[in-house]
């Protein structure tokens, strides 16, 4: 059965890859988690082309959830979703907690809407 895939969009390639590393672990390696970090040259920034490539790699047929850090990552993700012809949604979620929650839900076979909801519920996990 296909699982929902995840794409982590960040200004930093290393931040995106680090979040992916965590999320893959939480998705018990059943979930495709792809990084779209930095600009095309590896510097800080965002690239809609990297998002597009990552979404293609993450799509297993059950849709893809985007998680974004801030600023232009969020605007680039929103722009991508507006144009996307596949089932791609942006989760309104904190990056790390959202990715971990989404990966856990996706590994359990949750559908696209449920994975988004799991990511968004991560806001409620307070730290103090």
């Amino acid at each position: 059965m296909a699982n929902v895939g995840l794409v982590v969009v960040s200004h930093s390639r290393r931040l995106a890859e680090g979040v992916c590393e965590l999320a893959r672990e939480m998705g018990v390696h059943k979930v495709r988690v792809e990084a779209a970090g930095g600009d095309v040259d590896g510097g800080l920034g965002t690239s809609i082309e990297l998002v597009e490539n990552a979404v293609r790699a993450a799509d297993d047929g059950a849709g893809v959830v985007l998680l974004a850090d801030l600023g232009s990552s969020v605007l680039t993700a929103r722009t991508f979703v507006e144009d996307a012809d596949t089932s791609v949604l942006l989760a309104d979620a904190p990056l790390v907690e959202g990715a971990v929650a989404a990966a856990s839900a996706a590994a359990a076979g949750a559908d696209l809407a449920a994975v988004v909801a799991a990511a968004e519920d991560a806001y409620d996990q307070r730290k103090t």
Binding site: T46, S47, I48, E49, G71, S72, L75, T76, T79
Partner: protein, 211 residues
């Protein structure tokens, strides 16, 4: 304005943005992350390249959509999705019209503003490009309602954009990186508003001084 005029607008905007790249970057270094001029020069450079690839007999709408797509792809900062969305919304609004008149361009400019607002979530008074763009669109519409032709309305829009941008100086930012500075963002011109002035000035430049 026909498709060539719209392409000339994008080319003129690229020239103005490139010429002012250092100033935009300096404005951005004060309250943002210091890459606005460089990013936008790259984005509009890509837009000009995209125009060169459009077939002869293309429409004004396709010119703006093609330019907008290139700007989204190549800019690299938040201004890419924002200006890209503005141009694509404007282009979609123009539809297949071969030579949109002053009123049609006004509708397209209004759609561009709505697109930027929706994507970025900023309203007037948040110290963003919306302050300049909203003032420009309002000035354009007022001019057209008063009987102005496209060139005069474009001049009014450029003036309106400049006034809207100037009004961002005392504002405290509520969007983007500058919002983290709180009251310390006051006293600086918003770089996105400054670049919006250039885009409207480019429109006034290419539509000429008559009418």
């Amino acid at each position: 304005m026909n498709a060539s005029d719209f392409a000339a607008w994008i080319r003129r905007a690229a020239e103005l943005v490139t010429a002012d790249a250092e100033r935009l970057t300096a404005l951005d270094a004060a309250i943002g992350d210091g890459d606005h001029g460089l990013n936008l020069a790259r984005g509009f450079g890509a837009a000009v390249t995209a125009l060169d690839g459009l077939p002869a007999g293309t429409t004004p709408g396709k010119v703006l959509i093609g330019a907008g797509r290139a700007i989204v792809s190549k800019t690299g900062g938040a201004s890419g999705p924002l200006y890209g969305t503005a141009l694509r919304r404007a282009g979609k609004t123009l539809g297949d019209a071969a030579e949109p008149d002053a009123a049609a361009l006004g509708t397209a400019l209004r759609a561009a503003l709505d697109g930027v607002r929706e994507l970025g979530g900023a309203g007037e008074g948040d110290k963003t490009m919306v302050d300049a763009l909203a003032a420009a669109v309002t000035a354009y519409e007022t001019a057209v309602d008063g009987g102005a032709g496209l060139p005069a309305a474009a001049r009014a829009a450029a003036t309106g954009a400049a006034e809207g941008a100037e009004a961002t100086v005392p504002m405290v930012a509520r969007k983007g990186r500058a919002s983290y500075l709180g009251p310390r963002s006051a006293g600086h011109l918003d770089p996105g508003a400054a670049s919006t002035v250039l885009l409207l000035r480019a429109l006034a430049d290419v539509t000429g001084g008559e009418g």
